[in-house]
Amino acid sequence: MLNILIADDEAPARSRLRDLLTDIGNLYIVGEAKNGKEAILLADQLQPDIILLDIRMPEMDGIEAAQHLQKLTKAPAIIFTTAFDNYAIQAFDMNAVDYLLKPIRQERLQTALQKARALLPQQLTALQPLSPQRTHLNITERGRILLVPIADIIYLRAELKYVTVRTAEREYLIEESLTHLEQEFGNIFMRLHRNCLAASAYIIGFEKRSQDEHAEKQWVALLKHVPETITVSRRQQHLVRMA
């Protein structure tokens, strides 16, 4: 018996899928999510075999959700559903990704469920341009997935193998390269130092300080919500002047 998770922001669309799945029978609807974020949390919790994932959803769209879902220990098979999205459909066709067009026909749904399988890494890479900027970072902690909204991140600091993600509440560790993060979120974060990206929205101001009595004075950035400051490297000092 297949365990299925439905993710769609529109209630009628969810109820339509429920009707169709009930008609097909011999499967179990484990849950329903109203956006991409919920879909990931429910998938993590309920471990469905298949997710029927709408593309256009608030908070987090289906394409981004699929990228996070792949990181689950037991990644579910993904079938995208969409009413209309030319770019996405082109990308799906080119990379043999399963998708269903709304309104969905029962026979098509049945076929899709039979051949559903988890997305391959290269398929995910091909879909990435459809959702060029993630809205959340996913962090695996003790086998659970945590989603940190990009808007909550105050700074990102590279240390050895990991990157520290700082929010007002706490710190997380992720395994991504700072350069890659800077490329993706260049409009949100400023590189203040070789190893640090700070969110422009959280920078209160700059101040000239010295670490100890003997050291030369250096520019540091003061941040909202956190006591620590970030040293601005000599090379990035033009940012201070611009601010």
């Binding site: 922001d9 529109e10 209630a11 009628p12 669309a13 109820s15 339509r16 009707d19 109203k34 956006n35 256009r56 608030p58 908070e59 009413a83 209309f84 999205d85 067009l101 709304k102 309104p103 969905i104 809205t135």
Partner: protein
């Protein structure tokens, strides 16, 4: 008050190959003045030897030409209700006749009281005003042709761009979901859809009463409400609205569609669309606001709809209508102003 009366009937005029410019529109009257004065200045420049001579000639020509020009415009203004009843050919001939008559009358009046240097010959004055008049009419004819495709294409674009396929298929999907559980509601939804598409596929070149457009918008929103439920809140502030005012069709509906697509759908908890319609100083104001997220980048479709609406407003009302949009503090606002024009009896 006068602005209310004499807008040419869009139906009759647009189906003809041409139509007379609407002299009662401020923008059009201004254009006429500019064209005629430019021509006069050009004549003075050609005849003059130097700057002083040029200024003198401009003054001399203006003394006789400005009264003629203003009288002609005034005469056309008062004859406008009669002129628009004629077809284009008859209209053109009548316009020439009115102008020739006015100018001849002014000329005769001036010849009795003329105190400056000698008056030019009557035939030359008449020929000159004839030429300027022909030039002006030709300009307006060309201009109208340039804008006409906007109206002709409106219907096609309505199907291709305004009703987003996204909306169509999602609505059908929503209706399908209702058929088993709430057949009555499904029926109502299909009826709304039929009405909506009837208007979208209709010949949308005639002005329609504002009340009709509002009714269409309510049907459209009922369909969206079906999908989005409590996420979509609508606030109508239309107590002060003149229901019989005539507006180009599908001015408001595409804007609402944009508001739903860009403003409401990206929000998990939904939001409110505010529609305010009121009259002020003989103008109708349509103000639409919706929450706006800087994150979403589907700007293209929005611009297309706005440009189409702008073009159609220009075609119908020239300078008297305007469309402004702005976004601040997470709110997107579109503000349309158009002349208050009542239904033709």
């Amino acid at each position: 008050m006068r602005l209310k009366q004499g807008k040419p009937d869009a139906k009759i005029n647009m189906k003809n190959t041409g139509r007379l410019p609407n002299i009662r529109n401020l923008g059009i009257a201004l254009r006429m003045l500019v064209i005629a004065n430019a021509a006069l200045i050009l004549i003075a420049y050609t005849l003059s030897a130097n700057l002083a001579d040029f200024l003198q000639r401009v003054a001399a020509i203006s003394t006789i030409a400005q009264p003629m020009l203003l009288t002609s415009l005034l005469a056309l203004y008062s004859c406008h209700p009669l002129l628009i009843k004629l077809n284009y050919r008859q209209g053109i001939i009548s316009v020439f006749a009115v102008i020739m008559f006015c100018n001849a009358a002014i000329y005769n009046l001036f010849s009795t009281v003329w105190i400056f240097n000698e008056l030019p010959e009557l035939s030359r004055v008449l020929f000159c005003s004839f030429a300027i008049c022909a030039l002006t009419l030709y300009y307006f004819n060309l201009r109208q042709r340039a804008y006409s495709p906007a109206v002709a294409e409106a219907r096609l674009q309505a199907l291709q761009a305004r009703i987003r396929p996204h909306f169509l298929f999602n609505s059908i999907n929503a209706v399908l979901s209702l058929i088993r559980s709430q057949p009555k509601q499904a029926e109502a939804a299909l009826e709304d859809m039929a009405d909506l598409f009837r208007v979208l596929m209709a010949d949308n070149r005639e002005l329609v009463p504002l009340a009709q457009e509002i009714a269409l918008c309510r049907q459209y929103l009922a369909l969206e409400k079906l999908r989005l439920n409590e996420r979509l809140n609508i606030q109508w502030q239309v107590d002060n609205m003149p229901p019989d005012a005539m507006i180009p069709p599908l001015i408001l509906q595409p804007l609402l569609e944009n508001a739903v697509y860009h403003g409401i759908e990206p929000l998990a908890d939904g939001g409110t669309i505010n529609i305010q319609i009121y009259t002020k100083l003989n103008e109708i104001h349509l103000v639409l606001t919706n929450p706006y997220h800087t994150q979403n980048n589907h700007q293209h479709g929005n611009k297309m709809a706005l440009n189409n609406i702008k073009e159609r407003l220009t075609l119908h009302f020239d300078l008297e209508a305007s469309l402004k949009n702005k976004q601040e503090n997470g709110v997107y606002e579109v503000h349309i102003t158009l002349p208050h024009q009542k239904q033709k009896l």
